[in-house]
Amino acid sequence: MSTATAPAAVAQLLPGNRVLTGAAASEWSGGRAVEAVLFPTDTDEVRALVREANETGTDLLPAGNGSWLDAGGWTGVRGGVVVSTARLDTLFHYEPADLTLTAGAGLGWRKLAAVLEPNGQWLPWDAPGAAAGTLGGAVACGGSGPLSARYGAIRDNVLGLEVVTGDGRLLRIGGRVVKNVAGYDLVRLFTGSRGSLGVITRVSVRLFPRPEADMTMVFEGGVERGLEVARAVRTTSLPVAAAEMDIRGGGASGRETRVVVRVLGSREEAEEVCSRLAAEIGAAPAGTMRGGESDVFHRRRSVWEERSPVVVRLAALPDQVAVTMRWAREVARRTRGEIAADVLGGVVRVKGSPADDGTAELAAVLMRARRDVEAVGGTMTLSRAPQAVAATAGWAGGGGGALVQRIKSLFDPGSVLLSRCP
């Protein structure tokens, strides 16, 4: 839709030192061929850019740090002017005693953690990749990680948003109080909309006190033993904060599986949970991490996928783990990959690299995996995959219904935002 000069018309609204073009732009976008990357510094600038894009018919792609712009096939593979909110990183409001914070969407994860830590607080969002990006990017992706069993998913902890819609309207929705039912919940609609409805410019979130104790038990064994331990953890009534099962290698050596159980609470409570859980499982853990060691371990895990060329996500109810795990192992086998499964949430992730000659085969396996997982009411999505594989297997199953289409055209009537409905 865009003409050759249209991106330039949008780009010229910002001073040259806040515009990337050519190779620099593509490099910033993780190799994606984009026409420019723009760095507005306030909401008014974002609004001006979006309005100009509507006037000139320029494709826009909202972004944070551009850490995962190629994911999920939401945005096509090329083109577009990237509007990065990375420079909208002001901390507007932080009242520790209220456990709430309001900041620009571009506030980076590390900076945020550094602000919260001295007050003994945190934002327990461990959605895949969140720690590599921005606050707004995490909200836009609206994911959930293993800790959401304890703290809720990202969508449960966003209190308010400021957004510039696809047609350039400025909306301030929700607020900064923890309970708010005034009007329809547009905050939940924009959370997880992945840049398809507007550019998120400001975010208010609910924070949590960091528990006194952070403990992680690691149980090791073969795959069968791992599944047994995972089952015990899934069905215990003890307050477990998160639990994951990792499988490395092909699964034949007998020691390739570990179940990682995280326990948070007062020191007394956490110690008690650990010892009682070990008794329920009927084995002592191979090791237990405490405090900072446990925290760092999980922080590293939250960017587990890194730059793996294949990242697959299979999700179903937790007791359908036999189905999701069977296919995860099959995919891992064909990609020399690894598996990380969220035991409480039922999400199984695989990362790997496709064999050079095996893309057709991999695509076929993925399609069969999707069919079986969907048969038990689950979903299979490709977070990242070579184009040839994704083109055959499809990024995600199903498609948006009529409601989804109508919502998209309500906020982005000119289809200026490149992102499709997730």
């Binding site: 009242e95 005693a97 209220d98 456990l99 709430t100 609206g142 959930s144 809720g152 969508r155 449960d156 309207r169 909306l171 301030r172 929705i173 607020g175 900064r176 109080v177 923890v178 309970k179 039912v181 005034a182 009007g183 329809y184 919940d185 547009l186 939940r188 609609l189 959370t191 997880g192 949590f208 006190p209 069905t235 009534s237 020191r267 007394e268 409570e269 008690e272 949970v273 999700a315 179903a316 109810l317 937790p318 007791d319 949430g345 039922g346 009411g377 689950g378 979903t379 995600a396 199903g398 948006g400 219904g401 409601l403 989804v404 109508r406 919502i407 309500l410 906020f411 409905c421 997730p422």
Partner: protein, 494 residues
């Protein structure tokens, strides 16, 4: 009254006992628990299944009548009131729990299931449903979904929207939409989250999937008695800042204490106190005593004259009694009661409480506070007699000032009761034209012709081109023409 042809087709669709047109029986459906708003519906239809809801919605819409979903009618914002002879679609006969899936800690149920009955049914599996509105023995899960209800224990566990994972919805055009379901991983826009809190304006929820939690092993309950309500507010703020996360923190103020102690619900709270603070911790037995002791210490430091601790379940019930029976007790000392529902940032509680009490004094009114303090969710209740016109006017002015005070502190106009009829004209206090316009737009996505619960949530004068402005049809039109808005919304003793 509705046309005979519609009565006949509804009776055909919903079977015996499925349609109410008798004027006397319709009386019951005149209002919800906010009894100031009374409007007799044209009819009430009581379907049993999703298919019957579809049939009823289609038939009603064909006759051009508006539709109002209704659960138990315990709402406190006039949400289930039928304006302009609308037809009420009640969920009273949709009260089956369809599945308790203990392995995945979830349940699937019809919308008319009573909140407390779900927890009772989950109990044998060692599970329960966390959101616990104080009305939980009467209100329905469908109503909870529509209002995004909270409750005392939502401080630790979060409100309804956190627990709803899937919905089957009959849309105003009679079609069925399945949103989310089978866990919390559904891809795409969060339409479940968008529907929760839509106050019956987007469609009728006919099947609801929710998450359940394991029952906590132990509970500890404290009662702090304070001479100044600000001190109780400070204790709440200090406890949270210290990193403690109680399951519940509820404040009952002096006027409420005296109302309770004067009534049959007397709970043994000292009548000269200005605030009682109920604090509850739950979880594993280990660690509970330590947390409780720390919270007690914060109460003392904030100025509590006395801190009581429940030693057994009977004592625990006694400590809670004053909180739970507060509404009932207040209903006995004044004919009318105005319930507000603002939420403010927790740290502003001491100042806001002081401000509210000053407003009450200035207007010579009794303002009784009983509320979810941990969440900053206030319920200032103004006691009055609507037959006293001068008092009525003072109540109206005071309630506006209180709401403005809360909004100015960074708060919102409703934390859990919803906007409904009652607060729609206050929406512009917190949202501008752009936001209201966006909300109208989303409402139209679900309900293009404006038949679902019209006249609620959004002030009609903010609706660009909404049917009823101009050539339109249905309720919006009649509504502009003359729903008498009571000066003040009064609630009968529940």
């Amino acid at each position: 009254m509705i046309p005979d042809t519609l009565t006949r087709s509804l009776a055909e669709i919903c079977g015996p006992g499925g349609v109410i047109v008798d004027e006397d029986r319709l009386l019951v459906y005149e209002s919800d628990a906010l009894t100031a708003y009374r409007h007799r519906p044209g009819a009430v239809v009581l379907p049993r299944t999703t298919a019957e809801v579809q049939g009823a919605v289609t038939a009603i819409a064909r006759h051009g009548l508006p539709i109002v979903p209704r659960g138990a009618g315990t709402g406190l914002s006039g949400g289930a009131v039928a304006l302009d002879g609308a037809v009420v679609v009640g969920t009273a006969r949709m009260n089956r729990i369809l599945e308790i899936d203990a392995a995945n800690r979830r349940a699937v149920l019809q919308p008319g299931v009573i909140n407390a009955e779900l927890s009772a049914a989950a109990r044998p599996h060692g599970l329960y449903y966390a959101p616990d509105p104080s009305s939980q023995t009467a209100c329905t899960i469908g109503g909870n979904v529509a209002e995004n209800s909270g409750g005392p224990h939502c401080l630790k566990y979060g409100v309804t929207s956190r627990y709803v994972t899937g919905l089957t919805v009959v849309l105003p055009d009679g079609s069925v939409a399945k949103l989310g379901g089978r866990g919390r991983e559904a891809p795409g826009y969060d339409l479940v989250g968008l529907f929760v809190g839509s106050e019956g304006c987007f469609g009728i929820a006919t099947e609801i999937e929710v998450g359940l939690l394991p029952l906590p092993e132990g509970v500890r309950t404290l009662l702090g008695i304070f001479d100044r309500i600000e001190d109780a507010g400070r204790a709440v703020s200090d406890i949270v800042s210290a990193g403690l996360l109680p399951a519940a923190m509820e404040i009952i103020d002096g006027p409420t204490i005296r109302a309770v102690e004067d009534s049959v619900f007397a709970a043994g709270y000292p009548t000269d106190a200005e605030a009682a603070l109920v604090i509850e911790f739950d979880g594993l037995e280990a660690g509970l005593d330590g947390e409780t002791a720390r919270a007690a210490e914060f109460c003392r430091r904030a100025g509590a004259r006395e801190v009581r601790r429940a030693r057994d379940e009977a004592e625990r019930m006694a400590l809670w009694k004053g909180r739970k029976k507060a509404f009932g007790a207040m209903g006995r000392i004044a004919p009318d009661l105005l319930v507000q529902d603002a939420t403010v940032p927790r740290t502003t509680l001491p100042a806001i409480l002081k401000g509210i009490s000053e407003i009450g004094k200035r207007y010579d009114l009794v303002v009784a506070n009983v509320f979810h303090a941990g969440d900053g969710n206030l319920h200032p209740n103004i006691l009055f007699d609507r037959r006293d016109e001068d008092e009525l006017e003072r109540v109206e002015r005071a309630s506006k000032e209180i709401m403005q005070l809360c909004v100015d502190s960074g708060g919102t106009i409703t934390g859990e009761h919803g906007v409904g009829l009652d607060k729609k004209h206050h929406m512009p206090l917190i949202y501008g034209a752009a936001e209201l316009d966006a909300m109208w737009g989303v409402r139209r996505v679900f309900d293009p012709s404006g038949v679902m619960n019209p006249g609620k949530v959004l002030p009609e004068e903010t609706a660009p081109g909404w049917p009823g402005h101009g050539e339109g049809r249905g309720a919006a039109e009649g509504e502009g023409a003359g729903v008498a808005e009571p000066a003040v919304a009064a609630m009968a003793p529940p």
